[in-house]
């Protein structure tokens, strides 16, 4: 089934230990869409400026991604400048130019209204909620957020959390949101705020899923947490979009399956890790643009291999 994703489509200036790049296509919705497109149809809601050219649109449309919901506005696209030179595990934001994103008011094309899966990428919770309210019939809602919204836009964020089936954030965000250093206790507190499942991304150490004691979607109760591995990588060229690509792989797989069972959730965690591991191998969207479905399946098997207890000797 199709996923509707709302979020940023942007250009990034990036500096990592592997080099520098300017005006690279990026944004949470872009990374998410590319990763999810390997599994299911994707529809994007976002806004771009006059610098978003046909060649950029083609990066999405060549993967079958529906761009009818990308509004073209006068001015420049959202632009982010970040550096990973000091720490490959944490982006240092050097500049954020919202440009056309500063007045973004998401509009849902009629052709998107039957979307059953909604992903609220990391944007202002007010916008996340606006989109949610325009899609009363969605079957499942997943979303992301970040420290900025947790710290300074808490009341709005709490309204979004009540709408979520699955929240995908990283360790630091989970601990900050709960005000609790212990991850298991933090996860419970976060789920009391609304999400029925919480996926916590641990960067190079994989990801954990936690489940509340209410059922959601077609799933009966899952109570045990789940740990998915990450692939030890020889070289991380650019971590930008790793989390969005994880979310895209995760949610894309979920949406591709007839029913959300515990096994589907677990496989989705693995596919999330797979897509995140591809994303960081090149700058921007470069690697995901050139990844094949065969490579995805091959890496999925590798993830299984490196974490499966019973290995044939």
């Amino acid at each position: 089934m199709a996923i509707l994703v709302v979020g940023s489509v942007a250009f990034d200036n990036l500096e990592t230990p592997s080099g520098k790049r300017e005006n690279v296509l990026g944004g949470a919705a872009t990374h998410f869409s590319l990763a999810a497109s390997f599994f299911t149809p994707v529809r994007v809601v976002g806004v771009v400026g006059e610098d978003f050219l046909p060649e950029h649109e083609a990066v999405l449309t060549s993967k079958g991604i529906d761009v009818a919901g990308i509004e073209h506005a006068a001015g420049k696209s959202f632009h982010w400048t970040g550096s990973y030179v000091e720490n490959l595990n944490e982006a240092k934001t050097l500049a954020t130019d919202l440009n056309v994103f500063g007045t973004f008011a998401p509009k849902i094309p009629d052709s998107y209204l039957d979307s059953e899966y909604l992903f609220l990428a990391n944007i202002d919770p007010v916008l996340q909620l606006q989109v949610r309210k325009q899609l009363p019939k969605v079957k499942m809602v997943a979303g992301d957020t970040m420290n900025y919204w947790i710290a300074d836009h808490r009341a709005n964020l709490e309204k979004v959390l009540k709408e979520l089936d699955v929240l995908l954030i990283n360790d630091g965000e989970a601990r900050m949101l709960a005000g609790e250093p212990n991850l298991l206790r933090a996860a419970r507190k976060v789920m009391e705020m609304g999400p029925k499942a919480l996926v916590v991304k641990h960067g190079e150490y994989g990801a954990s899923a936690f489940f509340c004691d209410r059922s959601f979607a077609d799933t009966t109760h899952i109570t045990l947490p789940f740990r998915a591995p990450a692939m030890p990588l020889e070289e991380v060229v650019d971590p930008t979009g790793a989390g969005d690509s994880f979310a895209g792989g995760f949610y894309g797989y979920v949406a591709s399956q007839p029913k959300l069972t515990p096994a589907v959730f677990r496989k989705a965690m693995f596919y999330g890790g797979v897509m995140g591991s591809f994303a960081v191998e090149r700058f921007g969207t470069e690697r995901l643009q050139h990844t094949t479905k065969d490579e995805v399946e091959e890496r999925f098997r590798l993830f299984q291999e490196i974490s499966h207890l019973e290995l044939e000797a």
Copy 2:
């Protein structure tokens, strides 16, 4: 088969968010031995002072641990004072009183000379090497070290590394030893220094195993890395000894098996995580003293459950 472990038997003063304890039995050899004793006979080589009473010895002997190699010297036992109040993931050393450990010269009892498995716990590499040389017939050698020896006793440590089949250290130590931030590349560099396998402990995120391209023990080549999960715990009372308990569970299981196969190595990683997860639930050795074999097997199954891809729905 019996494991001979050489390392510290000590008393600790501990401060954690859960409280304070004084003169708690500790030391790397103590934690290692208790964890390994669930799987295989263990023989300890170490030194204690006059404050090491029959009640302390009974903690070890009640688990069948052979203490013939624990020398009783005049003076006080090794004493460590540490705090985890600021950061539960990293011990802050407040005081280290070597006492009788300062002049420790390991002596191997004749009854230990047939030991096939040797574990060199985290002590001066000079002592690790002395013990290794006294046991020319051991079948497998595993060991640990720490930042202090890596930084200031490198030449001696390098001699020890050449003797190791398996080195068990944490992320920071692996990166420091290799001078390389990327874990996969760091692992390769470390294995070039001697160890045929490297187990890197990630604390609450589990552990990774890396293998060189030479075979060791009865194992044919294993080349893929392996990721084992950790158990998300509600409460970590005292992290002291978690790494030693991991090593004890890991190596104890290895030594209990007729042959080191890839599957045995993987299960050993899980048992390491299991023993580490018990160790931190109470102060000092308290939890491991009162753990049953049934609890160990139950938690092993839980580790399998939380990381196994195919879950019965």
